[in-house]
Structures are given as structure tokens and as C-alpha cells.
């Protein structure tokens, strides 16, 4: 009797699962979000996670998902820890995600070799491995709209302009304060190359995770070395501390420039008026005035379906999260168009990313007119190397401080191609690209 019951139960489970798996695949598209709402990096992680989650939730509420298919969203807490991030990935991949957002350069580096094997594209929007912009060697990795190397070249272009020409950098000292990890070390090869090309000296100031809130020694070194400009690649609790310490040694704040990940409101706000003049790159608009963000307020935040406080909607890193989700949603939409299927897979979405193009008109159509620059990804170029602009802290908020700055493609591209080739050569058994390119790309 017991054996019979056991057999019946097994049969029911099998029948049930046979129905359940296709039902899940038909009814929704699974997009997991690797986020960090806890720990020392939560200050940067929370607004991004909120922005990503809220935009996707808004699509579910307003449009019934993407192309009529609901988005199943699941967050996995990584604490910005590479090992935890990789654990999250292993846990989530069984649910057939159509794209993975690692939101950490360290986690991205760990996942790059897995993407082609598991057939899950990785979107590392403006972070991760710069060389992965090469679509021929990294068909499963996408890092639009600009790489860290593009960002660094934009900063140097801006500095050159302020100095009266890039040739005026000769003989000057430029300091680079960075988070000691994959993220902060990523731009150093280009920085060293550009220092040789333009004849400036570089001083490096690494900040370890333990010293993020204890940077007085690094800034004493800055005071001694007297660099003409300081560039920062900071994240989490490192950013507000660095801004405070810079003000403390009277470093001219309008000569202190951060990458786009060092420009959250909570990075400058603790120093308040002392941070006035601090500059960072940015690639998205700031504020809640955009129709799509108003839709988020209406369909998600006001209905209590968000973890975001109302006054935080529209802040810089929140909007960065929104932009990240727009790229994913557009790639899914593309994939649906290319394949004619509604319930697309990771393989389809990879093709969606390779044909991604968001023109100014399309941004407007999405409800984000003038929110970001036109963006195009192709089969060979998974980044686009698009422009960013400089924003400046006015003591209470960010204001736009420059026009769009294009990267120094002539300097970045040769290094990027060499780095991509080197990566592939060093990685034993790296697969040659077999994925066909779609016509649109």
C-alpha cells in the first residue's frame, strides 16, 4: 500500500512539474536582480536596486509586462561580495533568467566565463571588464553605454579643456584615488598609457574596504603630492568619506572628479556646502520630472509596491537603476520582435542586446525624453562607447556642468582590442564565437 501511495505521489509530482515548467516559461520572463541592500556598499546599492526594481514593476503594472508577458522579478542579496554574488547566480540560473545584472565588477569578472556555457547574457551597464565591449570575443557580455576606459578618457578630456588644451597636462600631476579591487583597478592600464602619451605624472591612492571610512592618511598623501587634479573611482561608503576628506585638506573641489559611480546624492550630501564644486561624470538625467518616472510614482510607489521613499525617486543612482532596466526591457522587446515569440529565452535576449538601438525619439517614446543619449549596440561592439556629461554639486543638488563629452576612441580602442585578445589568449579553451549576427546589427 505504502509503495503504491509513493508511486502515485511520484507520478503526480512528475505530471505536475511537467505542466508547471512550461506554464512558468509561458507566463513570465524571469529577470533576477543581484542587489546589495545591506553592508558597507548599501548606500550605493539601495537606490540602484530600487530604480531597477521599480521600473520593471511599473511595466508589469502599467503594460502587463513586456510585450504582454509579465516580468518575474527576484532580488538576490550579494552584499557586493563576489563569492555571495556567484552563489546567487548558481541559485538563480535554474530558473532560466533571460539576463543577469551582477552590479559589481568583481562578480562580473567571475561570471564572464560562465555566460556562454549557461547561455545567459550579462548586462554590466557601464561597469565590469572594459575589454568585454568586443562582441567578437565576448558575445554574451554587454556593457553599454560606455566603458571605464571611455569614462577615464572623458575625464581627462574635460581636465584638458579646463587647462586650456590636453597638451597643457604635460608636467602636471594627476592623482587617482580608487577602491582597491577589480572595479578601482580597471582604469589603471589606460591611465598609465595616457600619462605616457600626454606627459603627466600619476599618483595612485588605493583605499581598501577596511579603510573606506578612514582615509585621512590617503588625503595627507594628496596634500603632500599636491596633484593638480584628483580623479576618483569610489563606491559605497568610500565616496562620502573621500569628499569630506578632500574638503578637509582644502583640495579645490572643482578639480576633484569622480566616475559616474561616485555621483550619488548621498555621496556629496554628508559634506553639504563643503562639497560644493565636486564633479562627477553622469550618463542619465536627474529628477522625477520624466513621464516614465511619474508612471513609476503612480503605478508603483504611490500604491505601496516599492521600497523607495517618495523623496528618493528621481535621485541620480535611482535613475541609473531605471536606465539599467530600460536597457533590459528594450533588449527583451527586441528579442520578441526578432524571434516572434513572447516568452523569450536568454539566447533570444542576447540577440536582442546585439540589435539594441535607443534613438532620441525612442527615449521620448519610452517616457524618458532627454534622459540619456542615443544608444546603439552592435554585433561587434557591445558597448557603443557613448558620451557622458559632467555634473557638479551646488551644495544641495547635482547640476549639469558640461555638454556631452565623447571618449578618446583613438586612445581607448587599440588598448581595448589588445586587452580583449590578451584575455581570450590567456583563458585556456576560450570558445570561438559561433553565434550568428542578426541583420539589424
Amino acid at each position: 500500500m505504502r509503495i503504491k501511495m509513493f508511486g502515485a505521489a511520484c507520478a503526480m509530482a512528475l505530471v505536475g512539474s511537467a505542466f508547471a515548467i512550461p506554464a512558468q516559461a509561458q507566463d513570465s520572463i524571469f529577470i533576477p536582480l543581484l542587489s546589495y541592500r545591506t553592508g558597507p556598499f548599501a548606500g550605493s546599492g539601495i537606490p540602484i536596486a530600487n530604480g531597477m526594481n521599480d521600473y520593471l514593476s511599473m511595466l508589469n503594472e502599467r503594460d502587463g509586462g513586456i510585450g504582454g508577458v509579465k516580468i518575474a522579478i527576484e532580488e538576490c542579496e550579494t552584499g557586493y561580495d563576489t563569492n555571495k554574488g556567484l552563489e546567487c547566480y548558481e541559485k538563480l540560473k535554474a530558473k532560466k533568467p533571460v539576463v543577469i545584472n551582477p552590479y559589481s565588477t568583481g562578480i562580473t569578472l567571475g561570471l564572464i566565463p560562465k555566460a556562454a556555457v549557461d547561455k545567459i547574457p550579462i548586462l554590466s551597464m557601464a561597469y565590469g571588464l572594459s575589454a568585454s565591449a568586443d562582441g567578437n570575443n565576448f558575445p554574451w557580455i554587454f556593457n553599454p553605454p560606455a566603458t571605464y576606459w571611455d569614462g577615464l578618457s572623458m575625464i581627462l578630456k574635460y581636465i584638458g579643456e579646463k587647462e586650456g588644451g590636453i597638451d597643457k597636462l604635460k608636467g602636471k600631476t594627476i592623482g587617482y584615488i580608487f577602491f582597491e579591487g577589480g572595479y578601482g583597478r580597471e582604469p589603471i592600464p589606460l591611465l598609465e598609457n595616457l600619462a605616457k602619451d600626454f606627459g603627466f605624472e600619476i599618483k595612485l591612492y588605493p583605499v581598501t574596504a577596511q579603510e573606506m571610512q578612514n582615509q585621512s592618511a590617503q588625503w595627507l598623501n594628496v596634500r603632500r603630492d599636491r596633484p593638480a587634479w584628483m580623479i576618483m573611482w569610489g563606491w559605497g561608503a568610500m565616496n562620502p568619506t573621500a569628499v569630506k576628506e578632500a574638503a578637509k585638506i582644502n583640495f579645490p573641489m572643482d578639480k576633484f572628479v569622480g566616475v559616474w559611480w561616485s555621483g550619488g546624492e548621498d555621496d556629496a550630501r554628508p559634506a553639504g556646502a563643503d562639497a560644493k564644486g565636486y564633479l562627477t561624470l553622469n550618463m542619465n538625467g536627474v529628477g522625477a520630472q520624466y513621464p516614465a518616472i511619474q508612471d513609476i510614482m503612480k503605478h508603483v510607489v504611490d500604491k505601496g509596491k516599492s521600497q523607495t521613499a517618495k523623496d528618493k525617486v528621481g535621485e541620480n543612482l535611482y535613475n541609473r537603476g531605471v536606465m539599467n532596466s530600460v536597457l533590459m526591457a528594450e533588449a527583451v522587446l527586441n528579442a520578441q520582435k526578432i524571434t516572434g515569440r513572447k516568452a523569450v529565452t536568454g539566447e533570444d535576449v542576447r540577440r536582442g542586446f546585439e540589435t539594441l538601438e535607443i534613438s532620441a525619439a525612442r527615449w521620448k517614446e519610452i517616457g524618458l525624453g532627454d534622459f540619456a543619449g542615443p544608444l546603439k549596440v552592435t554585433c561587434a561592439n557591445h558597448n557603443g562607447h557613448h558620451a557622458a556629461y559632467m555634473q557638479q554639486w551646488d551644495g544641495t543638488k547635482w547640476v549639469k556642468a558640461s555638454d556631452w563629452i565623447t571618449p578618446m576612441t583613438d586612445k581607448v580602442q587599440p588598448l581595448l582590442t589588445a586587452a580583449s585578445t590578451e584575455y581570450v589568449t590567456k583563458a585556456t579553451g576560450w570558445p570561438k564565437r559561433t553565434e550568428a549576427c542578426d541583420k539589424a546589427s
Binding site: 548606500g43 595612485l204 577596511q210 585621512s216 598623501n221 578637509k248 554628508p270
Partner: protein, 327 residues
Amino acid sequence: MNILYRVFIDPFMQMGQAPDLLVQTLWEGLVAGVLYALIALGFVLIFKASGVFNFAQGIMVVFAALTLVGLHALLRKWGVSSGMVAAYLALAITIVVMFALAWCIERAILRPLVNQPDIILFMATFGLTYFLVGLGELVFGGEPKSMITEDLGLPRGAIEIKMLGGFVSLQKIDIAAAVIASVMVTSLALFFQKTRIGRALRAVADSHKAALSVGISLEQVWVVVWFAAGIVALTTGIMWGARSSVSFALEIVAFKALPVLVLGGLTSIPGAIVGGLIIGIGEKLGEFYWGPLLGSGIEAWFAYLIALIFLLVRPQGLFGERIIERI
């Protein structure tokens, strides 16, 4: 030869060439050292009274600072118009919260685990850490917050002193931190040396059983000690929060006290104070003068190097007694 010059000669030449920077480095080291001493004191107090290495001391710093800032925001939201009134009300309530926490820890963790091996109590403080992390994030969220420096009446700005051919900049908040931490350390040292409860604490530290036999209440001593450690955590949280921001990253800063404990010992209050100063000043000098030789960023491990070098000379720690045991 060049290396020897850069290690043994050049740093001292730099000190002579820019003495203002040397004074500035010593000042930064002193401020950091006083704050490390304060954190180390939290560990020492608890270890002396209950033999527990309190892994949760770091998160207690975060929890206390978050409670203060969170309550301040709540009181302002509820209509307390004066920022300063709200700040001091929040401070008073936070002190009560830290007392309640000490009482709960005694009831829920220490009392049921009495007479268990030390490692069990140590592991229990891990549990306490994760509980406080979760509770803090649930109640206050994970976003960094600004310390209510001005509302607490703490000074802002800097005093610039022109000296030695340059200038030395003393942040007023750092001066306040050094003064408050020094007063706190002295008061706690006096409290535990001169008062009845202090003597009880020392008796408990020497032998739980002997202390019990003369009528000392272990429970009372534990509550007092954990409360004192909570107040130390609150002070550290305010001071360090004012220097950067109030976030969960402060927990990591608290572990800067570990090399102080290696150096000063887990049971010595003077050890915590002197150890804190040695580590604070030593790591800043190390990072500033010798760091560039090694690509900078050496502060994190240099503190341990200092502690280990001291232990080579004095294996019993700074103020520990040499214990000779028959084997």
C-alpha cells in the same frame, strides 16, 4: 642600496623637510588612536567582566549611531521644532535603548549560557552581530545617514595653525573627538578603579565563583558592563559618524581595534589606551612615509605588523604580566 636609502633615510629626510606634515600626520594618528582606544575599551570591558570576546562590538557602534540619527529624524517628523532639543532627546532615548540592549543580552544570551565554554559565548556574540545587523537594517534601512553633528552642538570647521614653514589644520570635530574620548576613557577607568561596582567587576574578572561567594551579583555586573560598552559604542558612532557618515561600513572601522587588543591585551584598560595611540600614530606614519614604497594602502595590515613587532619584544602585551606556568 637605493632601497635601503628609501626605507631608512628618505622618510626621515621628508620629516625634516616638511615638519608641518609630520605634525599633521601625528595629529591624525592621535585622533584615530584615541578613537581606536575607545573601541578597544568596549572589547576590554566585556572581556574582563564576562570572559567573552564580544564580536558584536563593531555592530553596536553602528546600531547606537543609527538609533540616535533615526530617533532624531523621527522626533523632528513628530513636530519637535528645535533640532537641538530633538538631538538631546534622541541621545537620552538612545542611552535608554543601549541599557535595554545590555539587559536583554544578559537575559537572553549570558544567563542561559553561564558556565558554558568561552567559545560558545564567543559564537553567541556572532549571532548577536547578525541579529543587530538585521534589526538595524529593518528599522533604519541600509542607506548611509548624516550624523546630527550641528544639532548635538559639536563644532564644525577647522583651525589652521601656521607653523614650521607650513600649516597644520586641526578639524574642530577631531579636537572634540579627542577631548570627549579622553574624558570618557578616564571616567571609565576611574569608575572601574574607584567605585564599588568597579571593584565588583574586577572581582568577577579574577574569578566568577569567588565573586559569587562574596555576594557579588554576576547579572548586575554584566548588565553594567554591557551598558558601559554600549555607551562607548554610542560615543564612537557619533564621533566616527561625524567624520564620515553613519552607515554599516562603521562596523569595519570598529575592527581596527583588533591590533590594539593584540598589542594592549584583552584585559588591560591602560593597554587599550596606550595600544590605541601606538597603533593610530604608527599606522598613519607608516602609510604616509613608507606606504608609497609599497604602492600605498598598507594601513590595514601595517597596524598588525606594529602589534606583532611589539609582541616580539613583549610577548605578554604592553601591560600584561609575564605568566610562567609549569608544564
